[in-house]
Symmetry: C2
Subunit: 284 residues, 2 copies
């Protein structure tokens, strides 16, 4: 079976590497508009050959679009149009509502399955890919009923081979949940990094004091702006509401601190400690 | 040499464990107002004996106060008053201005050295202690000129035995820097956790989606309210200013997202990516 991976970065590369460790015979065709990334991906063994987009898609049983969400919007219909009749198309985008929207009237819509692996790191590019990224993580499949059963089954089988846990939800629910649990985390981290960089002109101070929790809280501020700026645009309505809630919560917390209301801030933190129980079992 | 550790939690316990791995002969006397913590600390080998406060301090060449900062404020003068003439007192508090303020007129002020190890985890209690917490981390020594040279030398020698890196600053600068790099991180993380817990009533959703960055950004929201509520009170002026800057930055970011101004949000994130270079060499 031929799998064409468009976008040879962290997610696309890790998907291929994860499958290559298993006893199945997939042939990976890589497509990347950055020739250095393509060459690197071949050198690192993420894919077995490099191709241009159309030739790759034409040869593949499964095409995976693992590109930033703005590129996804531009590519989805053209790639669907060139997709062989028996083939299946998936995307790995972090937004789903707009993506499902742009293909809704495409005659080949049923050959497309909208998915999102809940996995990532702050690193990007082919060198960031590693076989262990996807196994045991959640794969969300959106609007499954709009995809033909054989395409859904194909991708479900592959995700299960990768030992991923499948979760199903409508595209709009996906975007709402992701706004809170993923997109807001990235914004809070970027804003924290930006605030500290502005105030602490002495880099040595930042480095020296980062031991006390800063480095983990700000980790996501190392993430790729190329990937994230379009996500924030595409999910702006949900993110805006999530940010409003977050800013209100910070303001509430600040009022407690300003008023030296230690009982109230204690209570807020004690309740929030419940996150330890909920996340128990997740590393880092 | 006898070292009395008051507060047998993460920091006090890790300080003792770190020193116990070295070829020096320290005898550790443990003091804790929680009898279970005291018994656990003895059982885990953090200390060699358990004592009440006064007997422990009287026997020690060095007393370490590793208790929450509200307890510190209450204990500092009484402990200084009972400190033997040749002995030295240090504290590990995350605030320094108020702490140095309350002892400023104590006749034994020069026997006190105000220090703060820039190290911690989200865990607390004697079981959370580990020998590797302090080595290679920063130890800040505040208002060194107010301590007698032999006391400063004693603690510098011990911190160097622990392979810590020493940094010197006035107590007010310490509190200003820590507000941005440590205290703000904790507040941003607690507020993020609180926001998500309020919005996502389905814990399964939080758990499932936490892979995408949430778990590291929210890690500090597992921290001890007993420790943090009094820190926020004692450093409220600096924290309030830091929170104002952070909320303004979030509002600025939100406006970019609301206006779909991708160029501006891209630019903000690109600049903030510099945090990767600054923090390179620090894990997580």
């Amino acid at each position: 079976m031929n799998i064409c991976i468009v976008g040879l970065g962290l997610l696309g590369g890790s998907f291929a590497l994860g499958l290559k460790q298993l006893p199945y015979h997939y042939h990976f065709i890589g497509v990347d508009n950055n020739p250095e990334h393509a060459a690197k991906a071949l050198e690192l063994g993420l894919v077995d050959e490099i191709s241009d987009l159309e030739a790759g898609v034409k040869k593949a049983d499964l095409t995976v679009l693992a590109v930033p969400v703005n590129a996804l919007i531009a590519m989805l219909n053209p790639v669907l149009d060139m997709l062989p009749e028996k083939a299946t198309l998936i995307d790995f985008g972090s937004t789903k509502e707009l993506i499902c929207g742009v293909v809704q009237n495409n005659p080949k819509r049923a050959q497309f399955v909208a998915v999102h692996p809940i996995a990532g790191t702050e690193n990007s590019g082919p060198e960031a890919a590693f076989a262990g990224l996807l196994p045991r993580k959640i794969m969300i499949i959106c609007d499954k009923e709009k995809s033909r059963p054989e395409s859904v089954k194909l991708v479900e089988d592959i995700f299960r081979q990768l030992d991923m846990r499948l979760s199903y939800m409508p595209a709009d629910s996906h975007d709402l949940h992701l706004a809170y649990v993923s997109h807001l985390s990235h914004i809070s981290s970027f804003a924290l990094g930006a605030t500290v960089l502005e105030k602490e002109k002495d880099e040595e101070n930042i480095f020296n004091m980062a031991g006390s929790g800063f480095s983990s809280t700000v980790r996501l501020a190392k993430s790729s702006p190329e990937m994230w700026a379009p996500i924030f645009t595409q999910n702006s309505r949900n993110i805006s509401a999530a940010l409003d809630s977050y800013i209100r919560k910070l303001q509430e917390f600040k009022n407690m601190i300003d008023n030296q209301d230690e009982a109230a801030s204690f209570e807020l933190m004690k309740k929030t400690n419940d996150i330890r129980r909920i996340l128990s079992g997740i590393d880092q």
